[in-house]
Amino acid sequence: VTDGQGERVAAALEAAYRDERLKVLATIVRQVGGDLTLAEEAVQDAFTQAAAEWPGRGIPDRPGAWLNVTARRRAIDRIRREQTRTGRRAAAEQADQLTRLANEDRANMESLGNGVTDDRLRLLFTCCHPALSIDARLALTMRVVAGLEVPEIARAFLTTAPTVHQRIVRAKRKIEAAGIPYSVPTGDELIRRTDGVMRVVYLVFNEGHTATASDTAIRADLCAEAVRLARLLVELLPEHAECHGLLALLLLTDARRGGRVDAEGRLIALAEQDRTRWDHDMIDEGRRVLAGAVALDQPGPYQLQAAIAAAHSCAPVADETDWVSIATLYQALEQLDPSPVVRINRAIAVANADGPHAGIRLLDTLDADELAGYVAFHAARAELANRLGDQVSAAAEYERAINSSTNDAERAALRERLRR
């Protein structure tokens, strides 16, 4: 009986950490006046207390509410201790505010949950504020919003725990000292800043998606976290079509994970992947989410990329890919994002739809000097030269691509193509 209880408590704690931690943290951050470190410590205290008390007193009916009230009390304790130590006046003000809020919430437990959406949005926008470096935004979002531990973040981003720790400490200090607000922007700024938040989520996913043999498992977790963050964005900003588009894109891309890498950890080209190894439930969900995005009638680059991914995933075999549609989607994407990667992919899609000559013509409009050393550019030129029967140019371009690549799996895949 005791063992069963222990397992139930462990499962309840895990579920609470996964489902309630962010809500509780976001609420406490607001109530302590934006002091992220204090709020994190108080929430950690609440989970520690839960682990100590739940086995004896039982799992509360509403773990989230229990954690919320407990974290608030622990925040009050911490502020009072700090106040006694330093005699700081600002801390006294905060403690008064906290006591008032704790009383309010005890009086009306049903009000818990109101405003939680806004609190989580505030926290997300603070962690992704453009005044923080992109590395800091990534580290802070993974730590504060996703709830990952520092060593996990370090492994995922191929860096050391002290480096990640330092980034988080610096970012928190900047939030405090530079007066980065704990608020949701409005108007045009909301749109710009939402783009920034989506970029952070997309970068988290990309880190996970560029998998190599040695760290596949950790990277898969990172993709799953990115999908979770994208779901959160959809939940918090349901009227932003691009948030749905981002979620659709991540689902449709992540669904192909099982077919992307072979047993030796080598990347497999899309055309050669075993499509039965794709996650078709995830593909279906991605397509549903994309349909929901399109219904909002605000086109954008994430929706277009998701539509391209969807077009790939509904072809049962590579030969049945609808390249004409994909080429059209890339053309629309290029209007919004004329970056080299989009233009290169469009050229390949056009080559598949209309023949290699048409693709080469598009590649030739790119600045070859500027893109020298860019793997995707050399690989695309090699591929199309090969299709035209120009083996000499193809070999030279494959060599350039291999020499430019820093990823072992990618280099191996390119060597394989060079040999054929």
């Binding site: 006046g33 007066g179 409005t186």
Partner: protein, 132 residues
């Protein structure tokens, strides 16, 4: 979206003071004597009026050109005085404005209105909260 629930319980009870450091590369921006220059001057004037009317303006001064700057370092009791600014950079500091606003986002909004933001830069530095 409904941001009305908690927006008014603004966590930051104090305003913040920021120094906006305005820089531009010499030779960029409208040239003196052109209609564009006159238009820019009137933009600056209007912006200062706007800052004042919003109660955000603490102080604003233009700086003489960098060639007039003198930098002093005291090392081991020795004074080292050099001609010119602290560091030679492409963009030179030509003015500063101290504003008092709610938070960084508000300071960024003002910085974005500075005419030189389109061809130079505006650095936003919080004034230290510790009294010097």
């Amino acid at each position: 979206m409904s941001t009305d629930t908690n927006t008014d319980t603004h966590p930051r009870r104090h305003t913040m003071k920021y120094m906006l450091l305005l820089r531009q590369e010499p030779g960029t921006g409208p040239a003196e004597g052109t209609p564009e220059f006159d238009a820019e001057m009137s933009n600056w004037g209007a912006l200062m009026g706007e800052l004042g009317a919003a109660g955000a303006l603490i102080e604003a001064r233009g700086l003489d050109e960098e060639s007039t700057a003198t930098t002093l370092r005291s090392r081991g009791g020795e004074r080292v005085i050099t001609d010119g600014p602290f560091a030679e950079t492409k963009e030179s500091l030509f003015s500063y404005i101290v504003v008092e606003v709610d938070d960084l986002d508000a300071a960024i909004e003002w910085a974005a209105k500075m005419p030189n933001a389109t061809y130079g830069s505006v650095e936003i530095r919080p004034l230290s909260v510790h009294e010097q």
